[in-house]
């Protein structure tokens, strides 16, 4: 692998021990995947340090203590507890205290600490041709497919990329890999974010981790729907990039021969309905929580929720959770949107979500924290991503429906299906 003078100097320890470790790790990664050299990155969405995993917050504290700093604009991924409104989720205080230590480590590293799976709604908006690294697969697919930035699906190494400003040139950092591998023809008219998560989920199940070219949508999806489409694919199939001509830079749709000769797959309304059916395993009244905001809600979605809940009351015995990032929560508060939401009895939660909080049973926290996941009958959701991981991580049934009908469900106490 060809290293720049600065890469080599970092490897030799010229920028301190933490950056030496980071560069050595990035070089190993690059050599494993035949990278010729490294690229300069312009943004990193990095690991928060997760309080529900033993020694994980300490991993970030250790880097911070050794002087690590973010060399590029950086945001933090979702965490395991709301560090402000934690009582609303009944999280153990011990867990919250540990989670806040990760926040402290990020402050000292200079990370923009938004603790979210949607840093773009908090203002982190990388542009076309910006190389970047991301620990969150939903961020990867949105940035590749909607913004035209260049990102792989990373793990912890997004932190090393942020610290050094460098990343090995492989995967979707190479333009040759940013070409369609399959042609998807959508023969349906999805409406709203839930439909788009289900459409994405159906596509991802077909194409696994390749690059689908999407045709046939009757209109340009809005930003929330584009976000939903990508996370659906990233959840079921590991898709890191889709190509929607006219949306995905630089594809206008006028490229001669675009999609010619590719394997072709049709997705019908019945395929979208099948995703809803697959994630409706609970009973009509046997649920404890209704959840909105996966991925973390945008300001536009907060406006929508506030309008749906204005003057209404959540049914006694039901909890309505709205998850968003702390930046959007502040925007919503300033815009007066939190008042009607709070008056309805709904909870607005940041930094985490049902699958990321102490509900998950697949985590491995320090036993001394005393984390005990609650027994839940079922969770009503408006996202195929949340549904899939509730099944896999919380191990309880789900009921998937549209945002509007999930709100109706919370108000009536009786599940209102999408179809």
């Amino acid at each position: 692998m060809r290293l720049s003078k600065r890469d080599q100097a970092m490897l030799d320890g010229a920028e301190g021990d933490a950056n030496r470790e980071a560069m050595a790790a990035l070089v190993q990664l690059g050599e494993a995947f035949d990278a010729e050299d490294m690229v300069d990155i312009g943004y990193a969405h990095v690991h928060a340090g997760m309080a529900m995993y033993l020694g994980d917050v300490e991993l970030m504290e250790d880097l911070a203590a050794r002087g690590a700093k973010m060399a590029v604009p950086a945001s933090t991924n979702i965490a395991n507890a709301d560090m402000e409104e934690w009582k609303a989720t009944r999280a153990p205080e011990s867990l919250v205290r540990l989670q806040r230590r990760a926040e402290g480590a990020h402050r000292s590293m200079g990370t923009g600490g938004c603790f979210t799976c949607t840093p773009y709604w908090a203002g982190h908006w990388p542009t076309w041709n910006t190389h970047m690294a991301s620990i969150e697969s939903g961020v990867t697919v949105f940035c590749n497919s909607v913004l035209g930035a260049k990102s792989n699906r990373d793990g912890f190494f997004a932190v090393y990329a942020g610290m050094t400003g460098r990343y090995p040139r492989f995967g979707l950092h190479l333009d040759d890999n940013r070409k369609p591998t399959h042609e998807i023809t959508v023969e349906a008219a999805p409406e709203g974010t839930t439909d788009f998560t289900a459409l994405g989920y159906a596509i991802g199940a077909e194409v696994t981790n390749t690059v689908p070219l999407i045709r046939g949508l009757p209109r340009r999806p809005n930003l929330d729907e584009l976000d939903a489409l990508g996370v659906g694919m990233a959840t079921s199939g590991g898709v890191a990039m889709f190509i929607l001509p006219g949306v995905t830079p630089p594809y206008s749709g006028a490229e001669p021969g675009l999609g010619h000769g590719l394997p072709s797959i049709g997705i019908r309304e019945s395929d979208i309905r099948a995703v809803y059916d697959d994630f409706c395993s609970g009973t009509e009244t046997g649920f404890d929580i209704v959840h909105l905001g996966c991925p973390h809600a945008s300001f536009e979605e907060m406006k929508h929720y506030a309008a749906l809940l204005d003057g209404r009351t959540v049914k006694s015995g039901v909890e309505l959770w709205i998850t968003t990032n702390r930046t959007v929560r502040t925007m919503a508060r300033e815009a007066g949107l939190l008042k009607p939401i709070a008056a309805s009895g709904a909870k607005v939660i940041s930094d985490t979500c049902p699958i990321s909080c102490h509900f998950a049973r697949t985590t491995s926290p320090d036993p001394a924290l005393g984390v005990e996941p609650p027994a839940l009958r079922a969770i009503v959701v408006d996202s195929a991503k949340q549904a899939r991981y509730i099944r896999d991580m919380i191990h309880c049934p789900t009921l998937l429906t549209s945002t509007e009908k999930a709100v109706e469900t919370a108000l009536s106490g009786r599940f209102v299906p999408r179809w």
């Binding site: 990664l29 991993l59 990373d154 912890f156 697949t362």
Partner: protein, 139 residues
């Protein structure tokens, strides 16, 4: 007498260590296939179900994809239930590579079939992730 056999593969993650072989013929997922606290394989799709990967040289044809695999490898390390080294057939996922580098678990790829056909569980292997060499010691 000890018979020694040397295999040249591709070094993916640096480090050199010896340990007992555990051979699998099915792709392995570090997210979901293994109980972090004990190292016991619980995945229904794995032929290692019920076995323990802690302290072994784990030989698998491929790793099954998940962006979260790195965290679970690191959690195995934190709990002391990690494999000492991993030998794969196919190149492992980037997330597995990241988790192994973070956890100091050497990986050599391109050898799972050749070694899996020659050794039995418990044979002592020495894995050199820097040079991509695996040595087999059988008594």
């Amino acid at each position: 007498m000890t018979r020694e056999t040397r295999f040249q593969g591709r070094g993916i993650v640096n480090g050199r260590i010896s340990g007992p072989a555990l051979v699998s013929r099915t792709p392995f997922s570090f997210l979901g296939d293994v109980d972090i606290r004990t190292g016991t394989v619980i995945g229904e799709l794995s032929d290692l179900r019920g076995r323990n990967i802690a302290g072994t040289v784990l030989i698998v044809p491929a790793t099954r994809g998940s962006a979260g695999a790195w965290r679970f490898l690191y959690q195995l390390k934190q709990h002391g239930t990690h494999p000492l080294a991993i030998i794969t057939g196919e190149l492992p996922d980037p997330s597995v590579v990241q988790g192994a580098i973070l956890s100091g678990i050497p990986i050599v790829s391109g050898l799972a079939d050749r070694i899996g056909n020659q050794v039995t569980d418990g044979s002592t292997l020495t894995v050199d992730g820097d040079g991509g060499v695996v040595e087999v010691f059988e008594t």
